[in-house]
Homo-oligomer: 237 residues x 2
């Protein structure tokens, strides 16, 4: 089954889109480009406080600095692991996750090992997720399945593997692959995951309407670098 | 000063290009895409043995397997660290490098922290390189400066910082950035590094003639996923 964006027009406009929503509460305010400077990270944190974003999402090297910038605020810190290729060793992912938590991260967004999944090494993929979750204890773990590289059966398998662990979220995309989130994938993930695992939609989400549609489809979190313009744009009423 | 590819035609054809060269000895036979399967890694290793490449270059999750595939052969194993964004923490880079060496890697290709460089945190950039080199002892360390993101003065600073450490190579590119190696950058790096630090040119190098030109300009190693077709093509005579 294939969906086009237009397939959702009727449904959304008549039934699903909430009239008012505190969109900022859903947003991981994200800056992951390799060239991000320290002053850009400072600004990211300031914006997160100003706009009331749920969290910021940064690379590991910026976690300790972001922690200082966000001191006393309710904004959470998300850091990425094995990012964006998902191809570091399991031990490296564990150590990286522990290091980010010890530097002040509240949540970890790890990338699955896509190559192992494509090689049928599902046991290794699942063990790795379990090991990272165990390493970060009660902190939230989101597992990025990087849908752009997966065939439909691989997407289903990836979701099944995440659901067999204690991970908290399935996240669609790194934003560095050949594609980002799309409605079709979020519908598929929601069908499989139900209420068991939450969904973070990310990658290429640039405007309020699109973000709200993902939330209506079941996403509990939105990863975007366009949070400020989303909030400043007129809400859907 | 700016160079175009054509600027080198006269120089190369008359003076610099060696008539015969064992190109395979210069090649890190590379497969870093996130979707690489175990059977593709096995093939990569087989090709490296068959064609006599200097090394293979793989992500950390594949090092232990590659070690088995290459058992008894002279082919070295290169693994990447902080790849491709260079934005993991210093501690994570150290732990990742040590893990890869313990799994059988001979050489580490680490990415510098581009964001710190752009923030003027040169001390942090240099300390990180020193720390990774110290962690891997006598194993070769190549430092990827990811030239595509750097202005000319930043390229010079990156080279200077690498040269102040005990790192063995300056490497131009990850192959995942907005651009790969170019002649102009390799000439610049050679001017700065002289004989003190070797050069690995990488990113977008697809044919024998281009590879040989980089070597003529001073590169001691070529990172490419096109090694087989390079060797199978007719040498420049």
């Amino acid at each position: 089954m294939s969906y086009a964006k237009n397939d959702f027009e009727f449904t959304f406009e008549n039934h699903l889109l909430p009239k008012i929503m505190n969109l900022a509460n859903y947003i991981d305010h994200t800056l992951l480009k390799p060239t991000a400077t320290i002053s850009e990270i400072r600004r990211l944190c300031g914006e997160a406080i100003t706009y009331g974003f749920y969290a910021i999402c940064v690379n590991g090297c910026h976690v300790a600095f972001a922690k200082k910038c966000l001191m006393g605020s309710p904004v959470k810190i998300v850091s990425v692991v094995g990012f964006p290729l998902g191809a570091t060793s399991t031990k490296s992912k564990i150590l990286e996750a522990k290091d980010s938590i010890s530097n002040g991260a509240d949540e970890i967004d790890m990338v699955i090992n896509v190559g192992w999944l494509k090689s049928g090494k599902n046991d290794l993929v699942g063990e790795e997720i379990r090991a990272v979750k165990k390493a970060i204890h009660k902190n939230i773990l989101k597992v990025i399945i990087e849908t752009c590289y997966l065939a439909i059966e691989e997407k289903k398998m990836a979701c099944t593997l995440v659901m067999e662990t204690k991970a908290d979220f399935i996240k669609t995309s790194t934003g560095f692959g050949s594609g980002g989130a799309n409605f079709e994938d979020v519908i598929l993930i929601k069908e499989l995951a139900g209420e068991k695992v939450k969904i973070k939609a990310s990658g290429g989400i640039k405007d309020r309407e699109t973000a709200e549609r993902y939330i209506a489809l079941g996403a509990s979190r939105i990863g975007t670098s366009s949070g400020v313009s989303m909030i400043n744009s007129k809400p859907n009423e």
